[in-house]
C-alpha cells in the first residue's frame, strides 16, 4: 500500500542524508520526497511516499523515529488528509494539438504559465494520481519535459504535526 510519511526534523546539515541512507540501507523504497524548512527555521518538514505492508511501514516509522534528528513523524495515510503535488510540464502545442492541450489544461484546472509558438508550459497541482491522469490525457508522445515537486501532505481537521 502507498503511504505518505511526514517528518519534522532538525534543520541541520546531514539530517536528510540520514533519512535517505536509512531507506537504501534497509532496502525500503522512496517513491517521492520533498523537504523544506518550516515557519520555525530550526525545523524542516520532509514528506515522503513509500510502499509496503503494515509490518514494513511499522519498521520504517520505528527506524525513522530512532534517527536522532527526527523530532516527530506521522503516517498521513492512516487518517483523513490532503495530498498535493506540483507539476510543471512542457507539452507540444502545434496545429490542432494546441486547442486540445488547452482544453485538457482547463479540465484539470491547470494553468498555462509560459507559451511559445510550439510549446505550452503547464502548471498543475493536485494529488499525484491527478497529475498522472493529466499526462495520460495529453499522451506521452506530446510531453517534452516533466518536473514534479514530490508529494506534500497535511492532515485534515484539527490534527497538527508540530512540537
Amino acid at each position: 500500500m502507498r503511504r505518505i510519511i511526514s517528518i519534522l526534523m532538525e534543520n541541520e546539515p546531514g539530517a536528510l542524508s540520514r533519512v535517505i541512507g536509512l531507506f537504501s540501507q534497509r532496502g525500503y523504497n522512496i517513491e517521492s520526497l520533498s523537504v523544506a524548512p518550516t515557519e520555525d527555521s530550526t525545523l524542516s518538514r520532509l514528506t515522503l511516499t513509500t510502499f509496503g505492508n503494515d509490518l514494513k511501514i511499522e519498521q520504517i516509522t520505528k527506524h525513522l523515529n530512532k534517527l536522532i534528528e527526527v523530532v516527530k513523524l506521522v503516517d498521513l495515510t492512516e487518517g483523513a488528509h490532503i495530498e498535493r503535488e506540483l507539476m510543471l510540464i512542457k507539452v507540444k502545442a502545434t496545429g490542432a494539438q494546441r486547442a486540445e492541450v488547452k482544453r485538457s489544461v482547463d479540465i484539470f484546472r491547470g494553468q498555462i504559465v509560459d507559451v511559445t509558438s510550439t510549446v505550452y508550459t503547464v502548471q498543475l497541482t493536485g494529488a499525484s494520481d491527478k497529475l498522472d491522469a493529466f499526462i495520460g490525457a495529453i499522451g506521452e508522445t506530446q510531453v517534452l519535459e516533466v518536473v514534479r515537486s514530490g508529494v506534500s501532505g497535511i492532515s485534515r481537521g484539527e490534527k497538527v504535526l508540530s512540537l
Binding site: M9, E10, P13, G14, S17, R18, G21, Q25, L55, E58, Q59, K62, H63, N65, K66, I68, E69, V70, V71, L163
Partner: protein
Amino acid sequence: MEMLSGAEMVVRALQDEGVEYIFGYPGGSVLHIYDALFQQDSVSHILVRHEQAATHAADGYARATGKPGVVMVTSGPGATNAITGLATAFMDSIPMIVLSGQVRSDWIGDDAFQETDMIGVSRPVVKHSFMVRDAKDIPEIMKKAFYIATTGRPGPVLIDIPKDQTAPNVKNPYEYPKKVKMRSYAPVSRGHSGQIRKAVEELMKAKRPVIYAGGGVIQGEGSELLTKLAHRLNFPVTNTLMGLGCFPGTDPQNVGMLGMHGTYEANMTMHSSDVILAVGARLDDRVTNNVKKFCPGAKIIHIDIDPATISKNIMAHIPIVGPVHQVLEEMLSALDEHGGEPDQKALERWWEEIEGWRKVHGMRYETNENGPMKPQQVVQALYKATKGDAYVTSDVGQHQMFAAQYYQYDKPRRWINSGGLGTMGFGLPAAMGVQFAFPDATVACVTGEGSIQMNIQELSTCLQYGLPVKIININNQALGMVRQWQDMQYGGRHSQSYMESLPDFVALAEAYGHVGMKITKIEDLEGAMNEAFALKDRLVFMDIYVDPTEHVYPMQIADGSMRDMWLSKTERT
C-alpha cells in the same frame, strides 16, 4: 569562564566524563589534540598498532565495565581503519565514542590530503555522528555524544573534528554542560505497566515456559533481577551468544545457549514451549532458524528498549518497550501483587521432559585415543585452570563456539565476543581493553590461527603496557568454521580454507618479547595451562594444536525449525 582551545576542550571534556583511557593512533589532523593530551595526565592514551585494534580495545573495555570506550584516530586512513570496529560495536549495541580528525574546514570537499567523508562513510554503522563546525560547540557535542552512546539502546557515536577547530591559538569559553537537552531524543525510561501485568498473567498460565535472555540483560544491568525472576518462577533459562553470563552458566535451571550452535535441550525447550519470555534479545537469524517454523506453539512476551527490535523478525504477542532493569523490577512486584504461582504440576512435567533431552543429547564430543586433542578439551582445560573466573575474549570461528559452549560463565561481562558482525581480529585487542579495565584480573583470549593473525601486531602494544593476557590459540591449521561449512554443504571442497605456511607462533611471541608455548599432546595440556596462568605478569601465547577435522555441534539445519539439528557428523534430529 575558562578560555580553552578546541583541542583542550576535547581533552577537558574527556576528563569531565571521567574517562580513564583513550585508545588511539596519532596523525596530522589530530596533532593539536595529542599535544593537549600530552600536557595532562588524568586521561591515559593507549597507543595501539592499528586503528582497528583501538576500536576493539575500547569495545572490550566497554563490554567489561559497562562504561563507554573512547577512541581517537586521524583523518583519512586512520578514520577508515576504525570502521570495522564501529560496525562491530554497532551490531552488538556497545557504547563507544570515536573522535576522528578531519582536514581543515575550508579544505573539506576539495579532496585534500587524507580527507575522507567520515560522517558519510560511517553513517550506517553509528548510532549518531557529529561534525564540529565551531569550536565553541565542542563541550555540548561531547556531552551529547556520551549521552547518546550510553542511553537507550547503546551504540557508537562518532565526532568528526576538522583540524582548525582544535587550533591552539583560538580560545573559547569552556563550561561542560550538566544536562543534555534534546527534543528529538528521549529514550524510553519505563515499560508499560498494563503490558507488564498482562505478561505476568501469561507467565502464570504457562505450562511449558522458557526465559530467553540476551545481551540486553547484560547491557541494562538486569542480570541480578533476571536471576531472581527465574529462580522465583523455576522456569528454564536459555541465553543467546551475547547473553551468556546474564544467568549463571552453572545454574541447574540454565539449559545452555540456544540457536545455530545452541544445546539440544535449549533448542528443544524453545521449540516445544508455550510461552517465551524474551528479555533483551533480538530474535536474530542465528537463533530463530526459519522464522516461519519458529516455535509454533509459543506466545511471545518481548522486553526490549528498542521498539524497532520488537516484531521485526517474529511477531510479539505482548511487546514491552522499556529498560530491562525497570521492567524486570516491576514484573517482580507485579508477581507479588498477583500472588499466584505458576502451574507447579505442569512445570514438573516440563522439567522432566527437559532433563530427558539433557540426558540423551546433552553437550558431548568424542575424544581421540592417541590422536590429536580436541578443541573442546582445550576450552575445558582453560575453564579448570582459571576456575571459571576469567574474562574470556574470543575471535570468530569454531573456537568461539567452543568457548561459548564449554566455558560456563557465571557472571555477566565475563564473556566478550563479536556476535552480530562476527569480526575476526576482535579477540586480542578486546582482551587488551579488558586488561586495562581490570589490571589484576585473569584475561584469556581464545582465538584461532586464522583470527589471531588479523590483529597480531597488538602483541607489541601488550609489551609496551605490560598486559599479561593469555592467548589460547586453538590451532586447527584451518579456517575451521569455513571448512566445516564446506564439509557439510560443498562436498568437502576446501576452497581457500586451509592455512598454509603458518608462522612459528612461539618464535613470534618471543620476538615480541613474550612467552610462547607449543602444546601438541593432551597429556601436556593441563600442566602447560597451569604454568601459563602462574606467570601473572607475562603475556603467554599458547599455541595448541588440535584435531583439524573437528566440527561444532549441535548445528541447526538451515531453513528448518529450531529443533532441526545435526548432533554429530552422522546423527540428526
